[in-house]
Symmetry: C2
Subunit: 208 residues, 2 copies
DNA sequence: GCCAACTAGATAGCAATACTATCCGCTATC
DNA sequence: GATAGCGGATAGTATTGCTATCTAGTTGGC
């Protein structure tokens, strides 16, 4: 397959495909001469994965590159991949990390996780993100929202069991690795979309 | 309070405060002369809300403006506010909306919502986002992930009931309105952070 | 064999976003 | 009455995610 075909089939413009090649998101095609290269199904698949991560998951080009490098690293054990995906999707962080208020929120996050018996690395980006949200709610005087945390934790614990089980059920490593990435990123998109829909339904039917 | 104090107390740089004033995120202070204005607690609070929405919720300046205008519109009924918040946080959309594959995914999303008995507006952005994710999973050959959808829906239905209940329990309209916004945006941040932590825990403890 | 169309690779340009810096004329305050 | 700070305006900057153009070489249809 020539690059123009790759572009046409995938729906990604030719300059953009070249950009992704330059940025190392898309591996180069098999060289067929000095200025010709051959692309195959794997390139098409990779291109679709890139677009899904960016458009649906909201990842940046740098984030996508990080995830894909982890995906391509065959020496990396499966559970490390999840951490890599989480690091790649960790977006902007609050400016006040390190202040007294934030550190208190961070301790609260660690306490919640410990109380659940969850074993997570102490430097997981999600712990900081949780602290960001807790600190923001406290600062805004909306601490009553924090009573929701336990329910959230209970729910995601159940969901995570099913998600991990589903991915581990896949026989091949390649499928598992891609499953981790898409499960993390696209699963999050599905969950938040459904949460919004549930909110609209509940709000509409229980409103005054 | 002078603008320099507002900046110092909030930790937001003076040029940035001026930028937010220009962009209409922060209402102007009460004029105290030709070149002096007075800011109060409400400005400080608003500033903190802006930073929370941007840093924790990942909203753009335009998104924040949209949300805040809805918050300030005292004529807007509560359940409309939720829709406004959802529109403001709807990020990038996929390019393939309108293709056959996407329309099928969109129909699937509508079907799922109907099967649950949820009543949501047919043009809710979350429906399109759900369709985006479903279409992406199908395109990547990961349709087995779709079996998780029912579990997600079940979980968020429970959560939404508690969230809406909590916000409605507030007496005053002003608190309710801010509760909707922070609940939507910061609640989402907490939920996704917890989901990632639960995934890491489950993956670490059930791995081979 | 010829020529238009395409190719890889390199470089430069562009639009949007979220600030940041500077200047101006004025004024509050010491 | 100096001077530090103010509001308002305008212009500049860094980053991101493309897009356009150029060079030099190759392919494919005739």
């Amino acid at each position: 397959m020539k690059v123009s075909e790759l572009s046409r089939i995938s729906g990604v413009s030719l300059p953009t495909v070249k950009y992704y090649l330059r940025e190392g998101l898309l591996p180069p095609g098999r060289p067929m001469g000095r200025n010709q290269a051959d692309y195959d199904e794997s390139h098409l698949r990779r291109l679709r994965l890139i677009r899904a991560l960016m458009d649906v998951g909201g990842l940046s080009v740098a984030g996508v590159r990080q995830v894909l490098h982890a995906v391509d690293d065959t020496a990396m054990p499966g559970h490390h991949l999840l951490g890599c995906a989480h690091e790649a999707i960790a977006g902007v962080s609050r400016a006040d990390r390190g202040t007294a208020g934030w550190l208190a929120a961070r301790a609260e996050a660690a306490r919640l996780v410990a109380a659940r018996g969850w074993h997570v690395h102490d430097r997981a980006p999600a712990l900081d993100q949780l602290a960001d949200a807790i600190a923001a709610l406290r600062e805004l005087g909306q601490e009553d929202m924090l009573t929701l945390l336990d329910g959230y934790a209970e729910a995601v614990e159940q969901l995570a069991r099913r998600e991990v089980g589903l991915v581990l059920a896949r026989g091949d490593r390649a499928g598992m690795v891609e499953g981790v990435v898409t499960g993390t990123v696209l699963g999050e998109a599905m969950l938040t979309a459904l949460r919004r829909l549930a909110q609209e339904h509940t709000s509409a039917t229980t409103s005054p």
